[in-house]
């Protein structure tokens, strides 16, 4: 990580001296060289092939940071990349992506204080609340009571969420600290039909997920999650956006910027999404679910924003 920061810093130090030329030089800063970040970079490069951008990479092994020109835009892929980009402290516009909303806010409040408005924006991972509601309704039409676990990270989202999940009754249990987690779940689950997991790094951790899933299974309550990995671990279904989809959205966003624009648009939520269902879990819980394609169609017909 220190290596990435160092390289980006050296690069941007050179760029700051050059006159701004938006949408000409794009620097892609990756949190890591593999996984979703690499997928994002590949897709981004593919989508922007028709443009005349000059894309330079930071954080890739063959990183072509040798571009002598100063970037006009930094695309920070992942929380780490965003933080590193901010830490450079240069006034280059930064578009963060592949980052939960909460992380964005937290990092920005930490490192981006004092940056001019419009110089920082993001395309976050969090799905719009309305889409979540639609997804729950389409997936499990008979399930009314939706349980949520909230912590300091997510507590602030709750009012908006309640508003968006029309027709569904939200039941919430606040969790503060690991030891109380299973107790909170055990308290919550008897009251609800399902558990809706929101991206919350203080609750849904690698070492917790199994215990949470086992507990919900004990209570015969399905879990609707926010990532494919969660579904693989044992959640019933998830709605999420892939790195490729977010790369497309990023490309679109940049292309849509008017020439000579000096500010980035406001934070966006994912437009495209993907659905993943664990049929084994559905079988175990004796649930008869619609297939993924019809769900997608239903969700799009539900008028969820793209």
């Amino acid at each position: 990580m220190a290596r990435i920061v160092f390289r980006a810093w050296v690069l941007l130090l050179a760029f700051t001296l050059l006159p701004q030329a938006m949408a000409a030089n794009v620097a892609l800063v990756l949190s890591d060289n593999g996984g979703p970040y690499a997928e994002f970079a590949t897709s981004f490069e593919e989508f922007s092939s028709k443009s005349n951008w000059k894309i330079s990479y930071v954080g890739k092994i063959d990183g072509q940071a040798s571009a002598q020109t100063r970037p006009d835009l930094i695309i920070a892929v992942g929380s780490e990349a965003f933080r590193a980009s901010l830490a450079l402290g240069v006034n280059t516009p930064i578009l963060a992506t592949l980052i939960p909303r909460h992380s964005y806010d937290k990092i920005f409040s930490e490192f981006g204080r004092g940056r001019p408005r419009g110089m920082t924006s993001a395309i976050v991972l969090d799905q719009p609340a309305a889409r979540l509601g639609a997804f729950v309704r389409q997936l499990l039409p008979t399930y009314q009571r939706v349980g949520l676990l909230s912590s300091d990270e997510t507590r602030s989202q709750l009012p908006a969420l309640r508003q968006s999940l029309g027709g569904l009754i939200i039941d919430n249990e606040d969790v503060s600290g690991d030891p109380a987690l299973l107790g909170a779940i055990n308290t919550l689950l008897p009251r609800v039909n399902l558990l809706l997991a929101l991206p919350d790094s203080s609750i849904y951790k690698r070492d917790n997920i199994k215990a949470i899933l086992v507990t919900t299974f004990r209570h015969q309550r399905p879990v609707i999650a926010f990532s494919k990995a969660f579904v693989t671990a044992g959640a019933l279904a998830a709605i999420y956006s892939t790195p490729s989809q977010l790369a497309r959205q990023s490309t679109d966003l940049l292309l849509a910027l008017p020439a000579g624009a000096t500010a980035l648009p406001a934070i966006q939520m994912p437009g495209q999404f993907a659905i993943s269902i664990n049929s084994y879990v559905a079988q175990s819980l004796n649930l008869d679910l619609p297939d993924e394609a019809s769900l997608r169609r239903a969700l799009q017909a539900d008028g969820a924003p793209k």
């Binding site: 990580m1 890591d32 996984g35 979703p36 992942g78 929380s79 780490e80 933080r83 592949l98 980052i99 939960p100 992380s103 937290k106 990092i107 991972l125 299973l182 991206p199 790094s201 203080s202 849904y204 951790k205 690698r206 070492d207 997920i209 199994k210 215990a211 899933l213 086992v214 507990t215 926010f226 990532s227 494919k228 990995a229 969660f230 693989t232 671990a233």
Partner: protein
Amino acid sequence: MKHLNIRQRLLLITLLPSALMAIVLVTFFTMSGLRTLESDLNAHGHALVRYLAPISEYGIISGQIESLHVLAQTSVQEPGVKAAIIVNQRGRAVAVSGRVSLGSEHLRRPPQQAGVVAENENWIAFGAPVMRSLSEADALYEPITSGVESRNEVIGAVFVEFDKGELAQRQRALVLRGLAIVGIGLLLLAMQAIAIADSAAHPVRRLVLAVRSMSNGQFDTRVNADSSGEFGILERGFNEMAGHIEDVHASMQERIEEATAMLAFQARHDALTGLLNRREFEQRLERALLNVQAGGEECSVLFIDLDRFKPVNDTCGHLAGDELLRQISQLFQGRLREEDTLARVGGDEFCILLDNCTGPRARQVAEDICGLAAAYRFIWQDKVFAIGASIGLSTVNRNVRNINDILAAGDAACYRAKESGRNQFIEQLPNAQPERRQEANGWSERISGALADGRVLIEAMPLRALQPDAMTGHLVEIGARLSEPGQPSISLSALIDAAERNDLAPTVDRYFIDQAIKALVRAEKHGKELHCLVPISLASICQRDTASYIAQQLALFNVGGRGLCLLFSEEESARKSTQVLEFSRSIRSVGCRIALDDFGGGLSSFSHLRAIAPDCVKLSRSLTRDLNGNRASTALLRAVQEITSDLDIYTLADGVDDPAGLQQLSEIGITYAEGLAVAPSEPFQVWFEGVVMRS
């Protein structure tokens, strides 16, 4: 190993390696079995805690004590598990089942990984940490933790205790099973080894017994040749060898018996004549004596000593002597009955045992033997020998104590017969105990003593001239007789015999010569014509100085040799012809004459006439004995007379006791005669004084 027999060796060879192998194998497998049991227990323990740890995780996390209890109880139901404990992160036991032996210090210190945490001889405890499991999560949602990797968190531990009793029991069972296998295996092995050893050792044992029996001399020992292979070959080979050995032994036994029989025969018989020898004769005599003493018929024993045997040996050698003995023994044997026993008991001595024969019959046999011996002529090359037999006759009667008496009596009688003039028999009873004849080595003193003392009486045997052309004067043959006080006088022939044997013959001869010369001197002094026939022995003839002695004596007394005629045996002259010729020549040179004694007895007589050219021959008695009616004898005598008269040799017939004989001899032409018909023998001195001096 050395002291073992083949069976024990075979047993050792087959059993020992197999037994060792079996023990090693079973020990190896038992040990590895024991180790396997232990490692099984270890693996079981490890597996149990490894499985138990993850499934306890949720219970510990969620604090579900009930489910942990269930887990612990389920674990304890596993075979061999004696206790199960689940502790939480703080080391407090949250679920316990069974009898726990593990100390609290182990519980409070959770192990870093699955393994043995404690162990003693009764139990073993395995432990494993309970880790918080990590799920696969989307990295995008991970909290930003600056460089801190999330680690597996230990949230508790599980412990399981196993009872080693069961392990020990199973190990014991394993060892017992191993021992049982070894035992049964060794038993089967031993049975098989014994069977093999017996099958191999039995034929060998049989052979050993057979060999032992063979060496003990049982040559008919055989073994059953029913084995196969090498043993069969050995058995058949043994039987063949035994057969050969038996055959060889049998033939050797036969030869030994033959040789023994031959030795026995040789021990009892005389090798030369095939007659019984002295020992066997004595044994038979002993038996005969016992028989007589037991009341059997009496028997007689003849002791025969051949006369004039020595000259044959001396003249023609021992081969001739041996031949003579063989012939004479056959001659004697021919006269005897089947039951009579003839034995050769010495050089020229024979013995005859006449069974159931005494008195006149025995005397007849003795006489016949004498006659046979006298009539017998031994011819060797061109020489003819006449012998005789002096026989002692003794009778075996009940009064005889032992055979030595008989032998002594027979011996003495034989001696007396020989002394009394040979070729005759004298009877003597065993218990008469006459003086034993004096030993030969006494003769020299006797003779020299007799000569010195004048006990040798010179006798005169006057001769009568039967023909007118005979020499004139008194003719006499000088003889002698040994007269010893208290003993019968010994005849001339016995005296000469003894003198010849003792080399005293020349002394006796000189004595005769001296006496004759003395008489001649006296006769000449008184103008009487005297002719003396003086016998002289071969020994004297062979002495060169005999002739010179005679010449000296004649010269000394100044008397001519004409009256002295030396008489010696025709046989003797044939033996030493060179010396005789030399002697004759010397004697003739001093005027003495030569006469041959016993002429006509041998075939060579006539050749001697020419060679020696005697002046006189004294005819053999065999020629003059049977003049009456025996034409052959007469013809022979005539022939002799004719030849001698042609050669101008006088003839003399002696032993003429019958006056008719004189007439007959005279008619034939014999020159002189002597004998009882002429004049009896009388002392020379008496005759000389009475006849010569008074004529």
